[in-house]
Symmetry: C2
């Protein structure tokens, strides 16, 4: 119970491109599975289709249609192209015959080698031990964020003014993250990681829920063991939507994942 | 000939969710249609399915499978969810029975109202008249970039050091863009715009082709008439891939579109 591998395990139906999965209540907010968790499940099914030549998800984009629910679900998938450098897959998660998430997945082979060029730098954070662990009971809305039992999150106190009614107005958050099951990060769990931070809109004093409409993640390198550091930021809240960009670095300061999403926002009043 | 509306016109097959389209050689590089152009075609088909309640593409993600070619193509589409606030569609562009691009499209209703909050600022550029128009014959590779006949591009000379062998090493480009047919930008042509700039890898002294693997665009507001300004930047080139982030602002300094893509890069040597 509570480990990422079990929570994302898929069982292929013999002779098909369909998979059975049981969505775990532990990886969501109240009874709503986290969107990154659902994408990771789709990524795992795609990984099984791609096989050993392309063992890693390198890019994934999902469209969120209907909330999922804990319990049985079905993934239907289709290999769109099996090339030399990459396998490209389309995958759909359904429950009760209704599509919940539709995803496009690219699979290839990642390494941990140094990049040819990078302008990417991890945020300057206090040590993990000096950042408070985010509690499972949401301090703003009284909701039970089960996923924070499985994903330990230690946010930079400098960005937590919203907890005391003093949001910075910058729409930025940063912090440390590690899996409570003790496992190291991998490309699939990083897909989850880029959708686990609190809404950056909290830092604007906007405390409503911000359901993801579309989310894309790029996996850039195999992460070194140890906790990751993440930074999230938004560029604009307008027309009822906010964009959120997230980057994650491993313990060797290597950029390992990037996420971007557009989410809908209900403004007060 | 040469106008965006005609080049993206789709004809629905009665009683189906399929569309015929003729891809126009004018919107690509040599005989390869531009990826943003293909996504715009898929967006137009999705717009026809969504109808008047949700007339604008607000988000689109595409997975690029095989190069397209000028000539007839078929779009097959499927409404995944028709909700109150949005319609979500899956669409595929095929030629000769082979899928070329698969896309997830969200449609809603955009406005030109001011955002609730924005940290987004257009780049400081010289006036359009002081930026050289990008020539149709590529100055690096001798290729014919037909699309630059239809999309007038005026890049900031400060970012064009790569033309004379002096790339800045920052992987940044910025400039003006307008449609040669005289039409104003709209959400669909903005999907094209975010994939029209030269590869930012030129600014790293890496001059190979960088085919898009996956691309997402978010449309944030209805653009005011007049040219747009764009800025493109990369965070990292590693593991054979580069990420490229693009933003576009209208003549009133309003953020109107954001694009992000992961592209493969073949390094010299």
């Amino acid at each position: 119970m509570g480990d990422f591998q079990s929570a994302t395990a898929v069982t292929r139906r013999a002779g098909t491109q369909d998979f059975d999965v049981v969505l775990d209540q532990g990886w969501g907010l109240e009874d709503i599975p986290n969107g990154g968790y659902l994408l990771a499940v789709l990524g795992r099914a795609a990984t099984e289709l791609a096989g050993q030549a392309h063992p890693h998800v390198t890019a994934i984009s999902g469209s969120f249609l209907q909330r999922g629910a804990p319990g049985p679900a079905v993934v239907t998938a289709e290999v769109l192209r099996a090339g030399r450098a990459a396998t490209q897959v389309r995958a759909r998660l359904s429950q009760d015959g209704l599509p919940r998430v539709e995803a496009l997945v690219t699979l290839g082979r990642l390494s941990d080698e140094d990049p040819f060029w990078s302008a990417s730098k991890p945020p300057a954070l206090p040590p993990l031990a000096e950042c408070p662990r985010s509690p499972v009971m949401d301090q703003r809305g009284g909701l039970r964020i089960h996923i924070l039992e499985q994903v330990e999150q230690y946010l930079d106190p400098a960005g937590l003014g919203f907890l005391t009614g003093n949001p910075s107005g910058r729409a930025e958050l940063a912090g440390w993250m590690r899996l409570a099951d003790g496992s190291d990060w991998d490309p699939l769990s990083l897909v989850l990681a880029v959708d686990c931070l609190p809404p950056v809109t909290y830092d604007l004093g906007v405390y409503g829920w911000t359901p993801t409409v579309q989310l894309s993640a790029y996996l850039r390198a195999l992460p070194a063991p140890g906790p990751i550091r993440l930074r999230a930021a938004a560029a604009e809240l307008g027309n009822g939507h906010v964009d959120v960009t997230v980057a994650a670095w491993d313990s060797k300061d290597r950029l390992v994942a990037q996420g971007t999403q557009i989410a809908s926002v209900r403004l007060p009043g």
